[in-house]
């Protein structure tokens, strides 16, 4: 078991390296760099920047060096000092901008994950056990509907209903008086009071696909001979259902974290933009639009690292609950 975890951790290293490189390449892709954008902005307000100033700027930000050197400087800075570079647009170190937003992103996705599981598991099991019943059809229909609605559309519709029908503003994660307040117990309570809206919106599509997964897993297991064995032992239907097929069907369910988490993170970015949440989404979009490369790179890197860690956690959890993997 320990060997498994160690091996799995070692496997993370190349993935993380690949992700960091990917993040850096993505940021380097746009034609021109921040200085080009900066000059263009100044030009719009009739300021002219001469070649020397541009070169000076480039040298200051290290943009005139080869890509490999830039990457190396960037990644060692992150690893050794936690320094993600400077945001050109905000004129602040990136690390000062991102951590609170990343933390809120994490809170949002993890709570969504828990809610998704909490809803999907019982419905999926019910759907499988009462296969082809009215309830199964209703669950199936709603899961298909949930899969078909893009999360940003759902967010828009909710905003519309809240604004037009209820006369309320939905959006943000804090009430006005807490937005810039330091963290306190009251602020946490306020966060929880606001969190449920994006959580529900995000949970819809994940729940829909998980219901399908759970239903399919359960249907597979329900016909296995060991269920008949358990029945022949004299267990009640409910007891045997919980102890055997549900228990076995949970294993592939746990491995859903690996693909659910990336989906949730993706969805949370769009929903956060629509609902203007103080998470990674809006700032990532903004930084990409203005080619603020170190800021955008930090977000892409951390978000991808987050999902990679998610799949690591799901693998370890799976090994913990499944003796077939654990004892291999």
């Amino acid at each position: 078991m320990l060997r498994f975890i160690v091996l799995r951790l070692i496997w993370m290293v190349p993935s993380l390296v690949a992700v960091s490189f990917l993040a850096f390449v993505l940021i380097q892709l746009p034609p021109g760099d921040y200085v080009t954008t900066y000059i263009a902005t100044l030009a719009a307000s009739n300021e002219v920047v001469d070649q020397n100033t541009a070169a000076d700027l480039r040298a200051r930000f290290g943009l005139d060096q080869p890509m490999a050197v830039q990457y190396f400087k960037w990644i060692t800075g992150i690893l050794l000092e936690g320094n993600f570079g400077l945001s050109f647009e905000w004129q602040q170190p990136v690390s000062e901008l991102i951590w609170e937003r990343m933390a809120l992103t994490l809170v949002l996705t993890v709570s969504t994950l828990i809610v998704t599981w909490g809803i999907a598991m019982p419905i999926g099991v019910f759907s499988a056990v009462k296969k082809y019943s009215f309830g199964d059809y209703v669950a199936t229909f709603f899961s298909f509907l949930g899969l078909a609605i893009p999360s940003f559309l759902l967010a828009l519709v909710l905003m519309y209903i809240a604004a037009v029908q209820l006369g309320q503003e939905v959006g943000g994660l804090f009430s006005e008086r807490f937005v810039n307040a330091p963290w306190s117990f009251a602020k946490v309570v306020d966060l929880i009071a606001h969190l449920w809206v994006p959580v529900i919106i995000l949970a819809v599509s994940g729940t829909a696909s998980l219901i399908r997964v759970m239903r399919a897993n359960m249907l597979d297991e329900l016909n296995k001979p060991y269920v008949t064995t358990a029945r022949a032992k004299g267990l009640s239907e409910f007891a045997l259902l919980v102890k055997y097929p549900l228990r076995v069907a949970l294993n592939p369910f746990i491995s859903t974290i690996a693909w659910l988490l990336p989906n949730l993170v993706s969805g949370s970015i769009i929903v956060a933009i629509v609902l203007s949440l103080p998470t990674a989404g809006p700032m990532l979009l903004q930084s990409l639009m203005s080619q603020d490369m170190y800021l955008a790179g930090a977000f892409v890197l951390l978000i991808c690292a987050l999902t990679l860690i998610g799949s690591l956690v799901s693998d370890i959890l799976l090994a913990l609950v499944d003796p077939r993997i654990r004892l291999e």
Binding site: P225, Y226, T229, A232, K233, K243, R247, L327
Partner: protein, 565 residues
């Protein structure tokens, strides 16, 4: 009233049991008016071929028939040792009453020892559950009793085995765990649904021994479902022969085997007994010329799987010869390497070493192990294969004509109208209606599919055919027909066969010489008579003596020879 129970008391009395499956196509009468009695200390064997309804009958008793199966009518009265009785057919399948019978008064074991136990719960957990459920034991007592039960079914180190998972056990050990679980509450009746079918004969013999011993010790009634007449003859007191959901004949085992009244029973016994001797076709043949040069000569063949420390020597230094016109049998249990050996002959696998010398019709010799691609392609026209699985070996998406015609087409031998004619002739030759040429494999029965496979094999007029368990997937009643067909073709086409089987009966019927394989090695070779009647190697002795014979007057497997190799 409470007289002590004695052997011969009726435990279960089933009358006119009817179980239906409502499907889209209509109602399938899986069990159609079946009656029988099971008595204390006695074994009732329910025997029948696939689709006879024997397994559904067993499951109906505990009301655990899979959906959409439903008990329609009939009674199943369970007589308890205290004199009371209950009709199980009247109980609701989810009621507390039937649940208190399941596992406590009537216990059941199943065919697949792997999938019939949960893979994610320990062995102990699954046994203790029964004890706690029916006897209300606490954890400590249940665990102690579980260890005792595991000891009873002869599982080594029961103290440690109790905390292990099923996938850490071999098939035979898993079946012992199942038995321990069934015996946990001292049931008055044990239902065994093909419990040894998935096991090798030597393991089967051990499990049959164990059930017998435990039955004698605890006086259980046993209802034993099987398709194997040998097993029936070996263990049954009473026999029930089923066919298409109906009882064809029932009575004492002696009567069923030696004075069968019903025609189907006679046919069944007849086809089993035919496989107890040499085929008539072979008796009429001239003896095979001993001096003829062998068509295939295998020398020191090795085939290893895996690498590093984890190597499986599937074929380990095997040498064999096959003479022209001869049938060489290769017999062995699962894991003996016989299938791998057969596949190496056609280079489906790339052997690690050794030589396979094949002598062509013109007398030239080719080593198949080192043959290049072109030569190999040519040789594969002369050496062909018949597969075990009549379902998996035919592409379901091709018509019969396309399947049989494929080797002729891809080798550029025939096409267009000529190909059609050749296919029609081949179909006739193996006893298939040429008019069925446009049908797909799903329209054929198992036996017919195997004929399609044979037609494909002989299409290229080969000189040698490797037949890998060619009859194992077929019911016993059509097995000898298939073997007869193969022998007729042998005479017509002058074929040599390499016939791989785990079934010594089939080998004796069909083969001139036999090689016995055990753990990748050939432990004994000789003429069929010599190996079957006077084996020299201890493993062969153990294998032969573990095979149940279809003769209740000659029960021997309890006194079998055991090999500890």
């Amino acid at each position: 009233m409470n007289a002590a129970p004695k052997d011969g008391d009726v435990v279960l009395d089933v009358r006119d049991l009817v179980t239906h499956f409502a499907t889209r196509t209509g109602v399938v009468k899986a069990v159609d008016g079946v009656s029988f009695k099971v008595s204390r200390g006695k074994t009732l064997c329910v025997v029948g071929e696939s689709g006879s309804g024997k397994s559904v009958t067993a499951r109906s008793i505990l009301q655990i028939v899979d959906a959409p199966g439903r008990i329609v009518s009939g009674s199943m009265v369970l007589h308890r040792p205290d004199g009371s009785s209950v009709d199980l057919a009247t109980l609701h399948p989810r009621s507390r009453e039937i649940r208190s019978v399941r596992g406590a008064e009537i216990a059941m074991i199943f065919q697949e020892p792997m999938s019939s136990l949960s893979p994610v719960h320990t062995v102990g957990d699954q046994i203790m559950e029964v004890l706690r459920l029916h006897l209300g034991m606490d954890k400590v007592a249940a665990r102690a009793r579980t260890v005792e039960l595991l000891k009873q079914v002869e599982i080594p180190n029961p103290d440690r085995a109790v905390d292990r998972y099923t996938f850490e056990f071999s098939g035979g050990m898993r079946q012992r765990v199942m038995i321990a679980m069934a015996l946990a509450c001292n049931p008055s009746m044990l239902i065994a649904d093909e419990p040894t079918t998935a096991l090798d004969v030597t393991t089967q013999a051990e499990i049959l021994d164990l059930i017998k011993r435990l039955q004698t010790k605890f006086g259980m009634a046993v209802l034993f479902i099987t398709h194997d007449m040998g097993v029936v003859a070996e263990i049954a007191d009473e026999v029930l022969v089923m066919y298409h959901g109906k009882v064809m004949e029932s009575g004492p085992v002696e009567q069923i085997f030696h004075a069968p009244k019903d025609e189907y029973t006679r046919m069944l016994i007849g086809s089993v007994l035919r496989l107890e001797q040499k085929a008539e076709i072979r008796l009429k043949r001239d003896p095979i010329k001993q001096e003829a040069k062998p068509v295939i000569e295998v020398r020191g063949l090795r085939m290893h799987f895996g690498e590093g420390t984890n190597v499986t020597k599937a074929v380990d230094d095997v040498s064999l010869t096959v003479r022209p016109g001869e049938t060489l049998g290769i017999v062995g249990e699962s894991g003996s390497g016989k299938t791998t050996m057969g596949r190496c002959l056609l280079r489906v696998y790339e052997p690690n070493g050794g030589a396979i010398d094949y002598r062509r019709a013109d007398g030239s010799v080719v080593d198949l192990v080192s043959a290049d691609k072109e030569t190999l392609k040519q040789m594969r026209r002369e050496i062909r294969m018949i597969f075990q699985d009549p379902v998996g070996s035919l592409n379901p998406r091709m018509t019969v004509a396309q399947i049989i015609g494929e080797p002729l087409f891809v080798n550029g031998i025939a096409k267009g109208a000529e190909l059609d004619d050749r296919v029609a002739a081949l179909m006739k030759q193996v006893g298939l209606e040429p008019a069925w040429r446009e049908r797909y494999p799903h329209a054929f029965s198992g036996g017919q599919r195997q004929r399609i496979g044979i037609a494909r094999a002989i299409a290229l007029k080969p000189r040698v055919i490797v037949a890998d368990e060619a009859t194992s997937a077929l019911d016993v009643s059509i097995r000898s027909q298939m073997l007869d067909l193969m022998m007729n073709l042998q005479d017509e086409l002058g074929l040599s066969y390499v016939f791989i089987s785990h079934d010594i009966g089939v080998i004796r019927y069909m083969c001139d010489r036999v090689a016995v394989m055990y753990r990748g090695r050939v432990v004994e070779t000789g003429t069929t008579d010599q190996v079957c009647d006077a084996p020299t190697h201890d493993y062969t002795k153990a294998l032969l003596s573990a095979i149940p014979r279809p003769d209740p007057r000659n029960r021997r497997i309890h006194a079998r020879f055991r090999y500890a190799g």
